[in-house]
């Protein structure tokens, strides 16, 4: 743990906020069309319809906000899932949420030729929620109720099933492949601000909910029996976590497609900085998740200039070595 005293933890949060703002400004200014501070400010104060101003207002700004919101949501969802499942590799992926959202969108495009963005988002959300609820239900069967192992297994099974269905649909309908491929890789580019506005109520409630239950998360982390003995209603708190994860991860999938690894990497980095108290981990991981995705999205513009890499590929490049590191380090670090 890097930051031990309460003062240094507040300072850490403050630094993260400043960094996030700087990265978001960089995200608005830099890219294939390079602009500068002055142009960015002018685009909002003295809009003149120039190419740069249009790009800043309609492309760069929404992109920066979507990346930040999605990054924060995925990181917080990862924290909740790692504590809930006691599995350090848990992330929204293992709830089958990404796969469910992906399947819903591919099914909509291939079977029903949906092209409208709003329907697209709503379906992604719906698919993610259906997958998560079924994983939750399957994981709860049996006398002991919801156990981390059953949840993880149910998630892996549902993910595999939805992924296979998705691939099957795409094989049958190659024309649809082009339409959904960029979305399926996970991307925050080419999304309008309305995309964010439509999912913000859900992820906003998710953020607030995560902060409100952070103290109870500390109790749950002590293990099911100890938590129950301390008077925590573990059944209720698990349902609350499930709902919050669906809101955050479902909203993220709807806004940006399935972006992996943020939910795994950020919680670990956060805990190494600020310790394991969820009252600190949840806000800081939200900020760091936002920073990571905004930074990855900036990098995605430069790595194959003038072409753009989907940001999901960037997070995979950063996340894969980290994933292997955590897996090798072993569960609970023991």
């Amino acid at each position: 743990m890097l930051l031990k005293s309460t003062t240094s933890k507040w300072a850490g949060l403050f630094v993260a906020i400043v960094l996030l703002i700087l990265f978001m400004i960089a995200s608005v200014i830099y890219g294939y069309t390079n602009t500068n501070w002055q142009t960015a400010i002018d685009a909002f104060t003295k809009y003149n319809g120039s190419n740069e101003h249009i790009i800043i207002q309609t492309v760069r700004l929404p992109r920066a906000f979507i990346a930040a919101a999605v990054g924060a949501s995925l990181a917080i969802a990862g924290v909740l899932m790692q504590t809930l499942t006691k599995n350090p590799l848990a992330s929204p992926g293992i709830f089958g949420i990404n796969a469910g959202g992906g399947f819903a969108v591919v099914a909509a495009v291939t079977l029903f030729s949906v092209t409208d963005v709003h329907t697209f988002n709503a379906l992604a959300f719906l698919g993610a929620a259906v997958a998560a609820v079924s994983v939750y239900a399957f994981g709860s069967f049996g006398r002991e109720g919801l156990t981390p192992m059953k949840l993880t297994l149910a998630g892996a099974a549902m993910s595999a099933m939805f992924a296979s269905f998705t691939q099957g649909l795409l094989v049958l309908n190659e024309a649809a492949l082009d339409q959904v491929l960029f979305w399926l890789a996970g991307s925050v580019s080419g999304r309008k601000l309305e995309t964010l506005v439509s999912v913000l109520p859900y992820i906003g409630v998710g953020w607030l909910g995560a902060l409100l239950i952070s103290g109870k998360m500390n109790v749950l982390a002590m293990g099911e029996d100890v938590a129950k003995g301390l008077g925590l209603n573990t059944g209720l708190i698990k349902i609350m976590i499930g709902v919050i994860v669906i809101l955050l991860a479902g909203g993220s999938v709807a806004a940006a497609g399935p972006i992996g690894f943020v939910g795994i990497v950020v919680p670990h980095v956060t805990r190494s900085i600020i310790g394991i108290d969820h009252r600190w981990v949840i806000p800081l991981s939200g900020l760091l998740g936002a920073i990571l995705l905004v930074a990855a999205d900036i990098a995605a513009r430069y790595i194959l200039m003038p072409a753009e890499v989907p940001v999901g590929v960037m997070t995979a490049i950063i996340g894969t070595p980290f994933f292997i590191y955590i897996a090798r380090r072993g569960f609970n670090g023991r």
Binding site: V219, A221, V226, K228, G229, L230, G231, L232, I276, N332
Partner: protein
């Protein structure tokens, strides 16, 4: 007045019946120890009393009230449970662990009070962990770690403390240290202590009241000096033994028959 009562309590894992229609009374202000062979259901019974396991039928009364009708937080203010071999999250410090014991006393409005602070300090003091409070739980030795968990249950400040095999995996010194600590709690603060122990002789020394469990029922219950004898050990543990008197405490001392080196003139230990 009984601290805890079970009424017609039946427990099962799946189809397997563990405890069958049990009526048990656990007296207030005493140390009660559950004894019995491996898999006899003593831990299951303790877990069920602590509401960690739902009964198949029947119920548990806590100070005369059905626990099924009390809120889990209300129960946590009256009864603490230390499960068998609990595992602290990696990186949790002793102080953070002990502070969690105050969870049932906190509300949305009252997050951390002076009383919480005092109870935590008292618990650290009673378990002699003040100098270790900033260490992480996973860096402690077995005995220290168990003391830290007990400190958490002390901070919970309940009249009743349940412990599932609190001395397992500890060496003899630390077993005595933990049991002495619990004995003091009972003597000085009049806490009701209910625990599962494997060591019959230590159970006889520390318990006011032993409950021997066999075949889904209570085989015998009472003061160790009244109930522990050769036939009980034979029937409950399926072991032949002599029961004599502990030369230091006068409580029953069970010496098993069996094989081993006999250095007495007459080989008396052979009929096991």
């Amino acid at each position: 007045m009984n601290a805890i009562e079970t009424k017609n309590l039946s427990l099962s894992y799946g189809e397997t019946l563990i405890i069958n229609e049990l009526d048990l009374k656990i007296p207030k202000g005493e140390i009660t120890v559950f004894i019995g062979g491996n898999g006899c259901g003593k831990s299951t019974l303790l877990r069920s009393i602590a509401r960690l396991l739902k009964p198949k039928s029947g119920g548990v009364l806590l100070e005369g009230k059905a626990i099924a009708k009390l809120s889990t937080k209300e129960i946590a203010k009256k009864m603490a449970i230390l499960p068998q071999s609990p595992l602290a999250p990696e990186g949790l410090t002793v102080l953070q662990l002990v502070k969690q014991g105050r969870y049932p006393h906190q509300t949305w409005l009252k997050q951390w009070s002076e009383e919480d602070e005092k109870k935590v300090n008292d618990a650290l003091k009673a378990t002699r962990l003040e100098h270790l409070k900033d260490r992480t739980v996973d860096s402690l030795s077995g005995g220290q770690r168990q003391r830290a968990w007990i400190a958490m249950t002390l901070a919970q400040d309940t009249d009743i403390i349940l412990l599932d095999e609190p001395t397992t995996y500890l060496d003899m010194t630390h077993q005595i240290e933990i049991l002495d600590l619990l004995y003091d709690l009972n003597e000085m603060k009049n806490r009701t202590v209910v625990m599962v122990l494997h060591d019959l002789n230590l159970a006889c020394r520390y318990a006011h009241n032993v409950v021997a469990i066999k075949d889904q029922k209570v085989y015998a219950q009472g003061k160790p000096e009244h109930v522990i004898n050769c036939s009980l050990v034979k029937n409950v543990f399926d072991m032949d033994c002599e029961v004599t008197m502990d030369p230091l405490f006068g409580t029953p001392l069970c010496i098993p028959y069996g094989k081993g080196r006999c250095i007495l003139d007459k080989a008396v230990a052979m009929n096991g």
